[in-house]
């Protein structure tokens, strides 16, 4: 057979990806989270779970590392015949949970429910960024030597930490070795000459990588493939960091030696890496010393691989004052062509915020987009972002309750005073949980994978979450900003100013979920909304954001920093289900507003405008180094028009100028999204950025698809 072109190989792995997606849906139904890269293997993985003797749980470094090693030992091998790389993962191992009984913080769970706090951060993990440069320099063998060196050097009384880390590296090497054997066997039996040769190359490459650091670009990307696979298996999250800079030296060396003569080969590598997983990464960005842009040829090739494969992926382009115009232009070109693409991480707000949190500009520039909504210093900063949220709307309902229970004056001031109290209480619960988490996490589920790729844990013999790295910046996101702001404005307009409703009447209609009071509901809903600009709801949104930001920025009782942001992820349904009717006309259990976005149809007359939306989000962004993302959906007509690309580029840059932190954009026609919602099978390869993550539209549940559709409908 003829050697397939690089595009043929990419098309082949894309077909497989679509087949896998269908298999996942057939097997488990729709799923609303990141697609990730897991492969639906035929059989469940049969591995022995090691339990602690005392607790009977799979917690602590000893039990966790042994169990995870068993999982890796039992994990099947996988090599797609058209891929440049070996390896895939089947799902996350069940390790490290639940936490030991004495380490559980159960006593505030009822109060958390009362405040509609559903994600406390405690018990979570990962959600930080590793520095993969460590691994690319040392290789698995070098990491093993490093562990052994520091175990010897530090001479800890208990060697459990080092033993566990060593166990994981060895298990990874063994897993790679099994792939080598598999590839060698395939190379013998395979009849297709290309596949036969590909298998031989994969076997040779990985035989080297078992002990040695990568020498070539292909080896470096294979190393990253192994990393992101075990990272996912241990905990379904992760990032590669500043991907273009990690790979640039290897690419340049390969070009210099003539090993790579066709950039399409690199595009194929990139597509194969993205096929393996949707780990977050960044292209473009700032040199720490002077802020000049660091984009390279490698940045373009990563983008090209993303475009040609066109499946869910999570690459961010870094927007800053000295960005690479050509790279940005290409990003927008592919956004228009594919309907989705990179997201836009903005230094304008992120750097200012991180500096506002007390760090020098050079460190701010080094932070990379390493998650759904967050950035972090790869390998230096422990942050646990995106897994802690408070609800800004429920405290308003609790405040109303407080007012109704007292005979005192009922006014906006007294309502705000109670609201401030409840927001503080919400923040305190989160902060106490974070202190608790930092105290006990390492004893239950250590950061066993990321410790290898951070600066400090191995050197000190200390888990990343417990002093292994120098910088600890915990984070917390607020949700339901528009729900709360529009509610405050509605109360002010119709209860306090026009007195169309008494406090008691308002309270009663809310208690009754607006039953028999549709006119009142519509009246409250008619209040000029947050996002329209210069409305009272805009003022309330700013005031609420400032309040949350100020309180959350205060250190925890143990003195840890917390960086506030506003982000709901895609969980607007989950958070809405536990939230009774609100004064903005929202029914009990309806979804909350999305992140810091105004509710769809926020302009007078029910429309929306991307500029108004961006102004609103930039105006309420917490200046902390955490992010407050903006979700934008652009009609594909603009993509077909001359000058459309320039308009979107200007729009993104202006958002960055105004202090924005992150922009997620979709481009698709309203007709197509409506058709795909009605019949998801019609567009099996339609990819949308739901929030910070992207997904096949088809794989989303009907209510998540509706969320995306609602945004389009609101555009008129």
């Amino acid at each position: 057979m003829m050697t397939p072109s690089f595009n043929d190989r990419i098309a082949s792995i894309k077909r497989t990806k679509l087949e896998f997606n269908q298999e996942k849906i057939d097997r488990n139904g729709t799923y609303d989270n990141d697609d990730h890269g897991w492969v639906p293997f035929s059989n469940p993985i049969d591995y022995e779970k090691v339990l602690e003797e005392k607790s009977g749980l799979c917690t602590g470094m000893e039990a966790v590392s042994r169990t995870f090693a068993n999982y890796l030992d039992a994990h099947p091998v996988y090599i797609h015949p058209m891929s440049a790389f070996a390896g895939a993962w089947a799902g996350a191992a069940e390790v490290g949970g639940p936490w030991r009984p004495e380490h559980r913080m159960d006593e505030i769970e009822d109060e958390c429910r009362r405040y509609n706090i559903q994600m406390r951060g405690i018990y979570a993990m990962n959600h930080v960024g590793g520095d993969l440069k460590i691994g690319l320099e040392l290789g698995w063998g070098g990491l093993l030597k490093k562990i052994r060196y520091y175990r010897e050097f530090n001479q800890p009384e208990v060697t459990e930490f080092y033993d566990g880390e060593e166990r994981i590296v060895i298990a990874t090497q063994n897993w790679i070795r099994r792939h080598v054997d598999y590839a060698r066997a395939q190379a013998v039996t395979e009849t297709d000459s290309f596949v036969r040769e590909n298998m031989r190359e994969i076997a040779d490459m990985n035989e080297w990588l078992i002990e040695n650091p990568p020498r070539t670009l292909r080896e470096a990307m294979q190393f990253l493939t192994w990393f992101q696979s075990i990272d996912r298996m241990y905990f379904t999250n992760g990032s590669l960091g500043q991907l273009d800079e990690l790979l640039r030296p290897f690419y340049e060396a390969d070009i210099a030696t003539g090993r790579i003569q066709d950039d399409d080969e690199v595009v194929w590598y990139t597509a194969c890496l993205l096929f393996n997983d949707t780990h977050y990464s960044q292209i473009g960005g700032e040199n720490p010393a002077d802020g000049h842009d660091i984009a390279s040829r490698m940045s373009f090739l990563i983008l090209e691989g993303m475009h040609r494969l066109n499946i869910p992926s999570n690459i961010a382009f870094r927007v800053h004052d000295r960005l690479n115009e050509e790279l940005m232009d290409r990003c927008v070109e592919y956004l228009f062509a594919d309907g989705t693409g990179v997201c836009y991480s903005c230094s304008g707000g992120l750097n200012k915020g991180f500096m506002n949190s007390g760090y020098p500009e050079a460190l701010a520039r080094m932070r990379a987009k390493v998650g759904c909504n967050w950035t972090a210093l790869p390998g230096i900063e422990y942050c646990l972002q995106d897994v802690t949220r408070i609800c800004l709307a429920k405290p308003l309902l609790l405040s109303l309750e407080d007012l109704m229970e007292t005979d005192g004056e009922k006014s906006m001031e007294s309502l705000w005073e109670r609201y401030s109290y409840h927001i503080r209480r919400s923040c305190e619960m989160i902060k106490d949980g974070l202190d608790w988490h930092l105290e006990y996490k390492h004893l239950n589920k250590p950061e066993i994978v990321l410790n290898l790729f951070a600066h400090g844990p191995i050197e000190r013999g200390v888990d990343m979450s417990h002093g292994g790295v120098d910088i600890v910046n915990m984070a917390c996101d607020a949700t339901a900003l528009a729900t709360a702001a529009d509610s405050f404005a509605a109360i002010e307009q119709f209860v306090v100013q026009s007195k169309r409703l008494s406090w008691e009447e308002l309270y009663t209609v809310l208690q009754n979920n607006y039953a028999g009071a549709e006119e009142i509901r519509l009246m409250l809903k008619s209040t000029p909304r947050y996002g329209a600009g210069n409305t009272r709801a805009d003022d309330w949104a700013k005031r609420i954001s400032d309040l949350f930001s100020a309180i959350m920025s205060e250190p925890t009782k143990n003195g840890h920093k917390v960086l506030p942001g506003i982000f709901s992820h895609g969980s607007v349904f989950m958070h809405g289900k536990n939230l009774p009717a609100t004064p903005n006309g929202r029914y009990d259990s309806d979804p909350i507003s999305h992140s810091a976005d105004p509710d769809p149809g926020f302009l007078p007359g029910g429309g929306t405008a991307p500029t108004a939306k961006a102004n609103a989000v930039a105006g309420v962004t917490c200046v902390s180094g955490n992010s407050t993302p903006l979700q934008i959906d652009i009609d594909s007509r603009l993509a077909q028009e001359m000058g459309g690309r320039e308009i979107i580029k200007s729009y993104i840059k202006t958002f960055n100028d105004m202090g924005g932190t992150l922009m997620n954009i979709n481009v698709v026609s309203k007709q197509k999204i409506l058709e795909a919602h009605k019949d998801p099978d019609r567009y099996p390869d339609l990819v949308v950025r739901v929030t910070g993550y992207s997904a096949f539209f088809k794989s989303l549940s009907a209510e998540y698809r509706q969320q995306v559709v609602d945004r389009w409908i609101a555009q008129g």
Binding site: E519, L522, G533, A609, N615, E641, I647, S650, T654, D657
Partner: protein, 304 residues
């Protein structure tokens, strides 16, 4: 200074260069039969009724001083001919079944909206566009608004159809960076049948405008069954051929999206027009390109 507007549209990307804010002024001296913005015909506020939104609360019956709202055989009937445009019913209609189109605003009111997106104008080369209706009918308001925008360094554009005494347009020109001038037809017959404007005056005003030196984009809405013949486009572009300040000429295909507005206003919708196909538009563009520079929004300059 006050003006009557129907809407202020932000992130407007089809009304001139860059990201713009378009202000739609009420009142039109052409009132073409195919227009998709019939709410801009009259200079006065008008009531729109969207019965599918009505929840039957009956509040409009009690607040209307003119008896516009009636219940006939269980159906909410709106006698729009009785409406004085006071807006009381719309103010009390929280379901948005009743909407007043047309509101009186000050220049400062509009500027407040315009300033919100000023950073985008600077980044994108955008600005503001006055559209309508025919914005020149409210020339004093338009002049003051444009003047203040110019003083603020904001790019200004005007969309006009030219049916007025040129002296009014002349008042605005010192404050304009771009004029988008509609020539909807050339033949006298079309003007007589479906355009209320004065053909001679419209064509003469374009020549007068060209004498001033401001960049001009001329546009023709191509209406199936009205002006979609090659001869019509050839005649228009022959007239344009000697303009000195013509940036380019554009053909804009008709769309029938205005029907819902006619229904809401209680106006009769003339359903005899059709949307010309892409192939036909390309043929007409080729004809036009023989005499002027032609620009297509998706394909750019077709003359190369």
């Amino acid at each position: 200074m006050k003006g009557m507007i129907t809407d202020i549209q932000r992130f407007s990307v089809h009304d001139g260069p860059g990201i713009r804010t378009t202000v739609f002024l009420k009142g039109c001296s052409n009132r073409c039969a195919w227009c998709h913005n019939p709410e801009t015909f009259s200079l006065k506020p008008q009531l729109e009724f969207f019965p599918e939104h009505c929840i039957g609360c009956g509040r409009c019956f009690t607040v209307c001083p003119e008896g516009v709202h009636r219940m006939e055989h269980g159906v909410h009937v709106v006698k729009q001919e009785l409406c004085i445009g006071c807006g009381r019913c719309a103010d009390s209609c929280y379901s948005h079944a009743l909407v007043i189109t047309g509101r009186q605003v000050t220049v400062e009111d509009v500027l407040e909206q315009i300033r919100m997106d000023e950073p985008y104008y600077k980044r994108s080369g955008g600005g503001i566009t006055l559209s309508g209706g025919e914005p020149v009918l409210q020339w004093e308001f338009a002049k003051e608004l444009l003047k203040q925008c110019k003083e603020a360094g904001i790019h200004t554009a005007l969309q006009t159809a030219g049916n007025y005494d040129f002296k009014y347009l002349k008042e605005l020109l010192p404050y304009l960076d771009l004029v988008m001038y509609d020539i909807k037809a050339f033949s006298e017959d079309i003007y007589a049948k479906v355009i209320h404007g004065d053909r001679v005056r419209i064509l003469a005003n374009l020549k007068s405008l060209d004498g001033i030196g401001i960049p001009i984009i001329v546009r023709t809405p191509v209406i199936g069954s009205v002006n979609d013949s090659g001869q019509e486009i050839e005649d228009i572009t022959a007239y344009l051929a000697d303009l000195k300040n013509l940036v380019h000429y554009m053909l804009i295909p008709y769309h029938g999206l205005g029907k819902v507005k006619y229904d809401a206003l209680g106006m009769e919708y003339q359903n005899s027009f059709y949307t010309p196909g892409e192939e036909q538009i390309q043929q007409l563009e080729k004809i036009a390109a023989r005499q002027v520079q032609v620009y297509n929004i998706e394909r750019g300059y077709i003359n190369g």
